[in-house]
């Protein structure tokens, strides 16, 4: 029993890691007042980039191409959201369709309609000495691949940058009151463009983590709503990197529940487990919405800036 609890915590952290990267990226964009529902397309582009890169140049190059793939998708969105000032929701929806369409086409073109079994190098777990000997939680927290440790470090780093530096202040000013920010000399469009691009890199790394540290291969549409779930994570985390981390762990646990129930011999249709994170997203958004007092950047989603 304690073995299956350990496995549950381990699976929680493993599934939370890509959600956390995507959620942190979306937090940056939303703090600048831009809601990017193209995140789903960014994550799948990152996943495809990871496969293409790792097949050629190994795991590290895979992550590099994943980040580049996410950034390429984000650039399309940034042109429409930050420069042309199009409706962010519609532009984001188009970017999601674009990501799913382009990756699906390239994948089938390269590997045939069924998708030949790909063998790519993956990132192995790197247990941290001593720490992974802590009972129950040790292997879950410290028996992960290096990319998970990078995610751990990114949370306080981003928090510090957002709330303790001039750059972070400028970012939040743009999201709260773009007119005032501009009067104060902050280049609003450039800040939003940069925030979207940084979010795209993190979204790409999210897809890369999914492929290189979890699944080990690519499948059409394998992002399976993770980009949208990450948007829910941002709202649940009150637009704060630390909150996003907590929310990502909740969603990781929701996905990992199936391992626990299987270990307990509790049989239920597996579709129930697959649908559970989506139901949880709805519940989380309803909760975040009903507790709406501050938190969301005041100018979130605004296309027009006077």
């Amino acid at each position: 029993m304690s073995g299956s609890v350990t496995a549950f915590f381990e699976a929680t952290v493993r599934t939370a890691t890509p959600l956390l990267f995507a959620g942190l990226g979306e937090t940056l964009a939303e703090q600048a007042g831009v809601i990017n529902v193209g995140l789903e397309g960014i994550v799948i582009a990152g996943a495809f980039g990871a496969v293409a890169g790792a097949a050629v140049g190994g795991v590290a190059f895979g992550f590099l191409v994943a980040a580049a793939g996410g950034a390429a998708m984000a650039a399309v969105f940034a042109v429409f959201a930050a420069i042309l000032r199009s409706d962010q929701i519609i532009a984001g929806t188009a970017v999601t369709l674009l990501g799913l369409g382009v990756t699906g086409t390239l994948y089938r073109w390269e590997f045939g309609p069924s998708g030949a079994a790909l063998t790519i190098p993956t990132m192995h777990a790197m247990p941290l000495p001593l720490l992974d000997n802590i009972p129950v939680l040790g292997p879950a927290l410290f028996g992960q691949p290096p990319v998970a440790y990078a995610a751990y470090l990114l949370v306080p780093a981003l928090w510090w940058w957002t709330y303790r530096t001039y750059g972070g202040l400028a970012l939040r000013a743009v999201g709260e009151n773009p007119e005032a920010a501009r009067v104060a000399g902050i280049p609003v469009r450039r800040v939003q463009f940069a925030a979207i691009m940084a979010g795209g890199v993190l979204g790409g790394v999210s897809g890369g983590t999914l492929v290189l540290a979890q699944v080990g291969t690519f499948a059409e549409g394998m992002s399976a709503g993770r980009g949208f779930i990450a948007i829910a994570i941002v709202a649940l985390g009150r637009w704060n990197p630390a909150g996003a981390a907590a929310a990502a762990v909740i969603f990781g646990a929701a996905s990992a529940l199936q391992f626990l129930f299987q270990a307990m011999g509790w049989h239920a249709p597996y579709q129930l487990f697959l649908a559970f994170p989506y139901v949880l997203t709805l519940a989380a958004l309803a909760f975040a919405g009903s507790a709406r007092q501050g938190g969301a950047p005041a100018a979130l989603g605004r296309a027009r800036i006077d």
Partner: protein, 344 residues
């Protein structure tokens, strides 16, 4: 890379396959393009109705699945009726059940929006995934065909098939139904008081509420439910007109293509018919390309995305050099306008 070695000969081959699959013959037009266009017109209409009211319903996919499921279930129940007079009602009931189920599925997102302020873009997409998992479960569980071999429901009895519109083709009366629905939506939005409330709510909810004394929440919710009903009807029509059974992947993403259909039509219900046929030809041609030339049909998603982005770019250009024909949605007012900001 396979992509690089694709020469001009195979591009010509792919284009030929596209033409034969979509518009190259009367059979292709009637049995492929128009059959594909039917669910696209209905779901495109659903998206257009919601967007006109300022409701970003990205959930036509899930509402389509809910409608297809409800139509399958009610058809299955009706098949047990012995009385022929009753069974004449079975088909209309299946279509009605589909519309009600679609409205109900949209109603979940409408309720979350009104009660908790949940962004409908996210909630409808989550409901799409939940509907897909529910269908996956049903066709392997309670609704599976009796031999329990295939993950699908039993085939509907012939009495529950929609009649053919053109004898000897695959085109069914659902196409006519879709065109009629578009005309009705056009008339209601253009000519009636509730259509005016819908337009006013979508154009500027603050002005509609303060100057027009319109209950914008009710108007938006009503449009959301009607939108879901039309998408649900699309699912019911697909089951009773084309597939005759429910299975996973019954929709190759109609609900997402619908967004491109509606935007290309500038959210005008009558133009949705033309734009639905255009995308029907695109998808039929892509299916032909995949069948005959091995080109992945998923390339259509990328084409659709490019069309949406091109429309956004064009309207951004128009906003800079104004002309009267800017889609209302694209100059949708901001959610929380700053006090004293320029309302134009």
């Amino acid at each position: 890379m396979g992509l690089m070695t694709t020469g001009s000969a195979s591009i010509a081959q792919a284009l030929a396959a596209f033409w034969h699959g979509s518009l190259g013959s009367e059979y292709a037009i009637v049995s492929a393009t128009l059959v594909r266009a039917t669910p696209l017109i209905l779901t495109g209409l659903a998206v257009a109705i919601a967007f006109r009211a300022g409701v970003l319903n990205i959930g036509a996919e899930g509402q389509f699945l809910a409608g297809a499921t409800a139509a399958t279930i009610s058809a299955g129940l009706a098949a047990a009726w012995p009385n022929p007079a009753q069974s004449a009602l079975a088909l209309p009931l299946a279509l009605f059940g589909g519309a009600v189920a679609g409205a109900t599925w949209a109603g979940v997102a409408a309720w979350l929006r009104q009660r908790f302020g949940v962004l409908e873009v996210i909630s409808t997409i989550m409901l799409n995934f939940i509907a897909a998992e529910a269908v996956a479960y049903l066709v392997r569980g309670p609704l599976q065909e009796p031999s329990h071999v295939y993950p699908q429901t039993p085939t509907l009895p012939p009495g529950l098939h929609l009649a053919k519109l053109v004898p000897g083709s695959r085109l069914h009366v659902g196409f006519a139904l879709a065109v009629v629905a578009a005309v009705i939506a056009w008339w209601v939005i253009r000519e009636t008081a509730s259509g005016f409330r819908l337009r006013a709510t979508g154009a500027n909810p603050l002005a509609a509420a303060s100057a027009g004394q319109i209950d914008v929440r009710a108007a938006a919710t009503r449009a959301f439910l009607v939108s879901g009903a039309v998408a649900g009807l699309a699912g019911a029509v697909e089951v009773t007109g084309v597939t005759y059974a429910l299975y996973e992947n019954i929709s190759p993403g109609y609900g997402y293509t619908a967004i491109a259909v509606a935007l290309l039509a500038n959210l005008d219900p009558l133009a949705v018919v033309a734009s639905g046929i255009f995308f029907g030809a695109l998808e039929a041609g892509a299916a032909g390309m995949q069948r005959d030339a091995g080109v992945p049909s998923v390339v259509v998603s990328a084409v659709e995305a490019s069309i949406i982005l091109a429309i956004l770019a064009a309207s951004a250009a128009r906003a800079r050099w104004p002309s009267p024909a800017i889609p209302q949605l694209l100059r949708r007012p901001v959610r929380t306008p700053a006090a004293g900001s320029d309302p134009a």
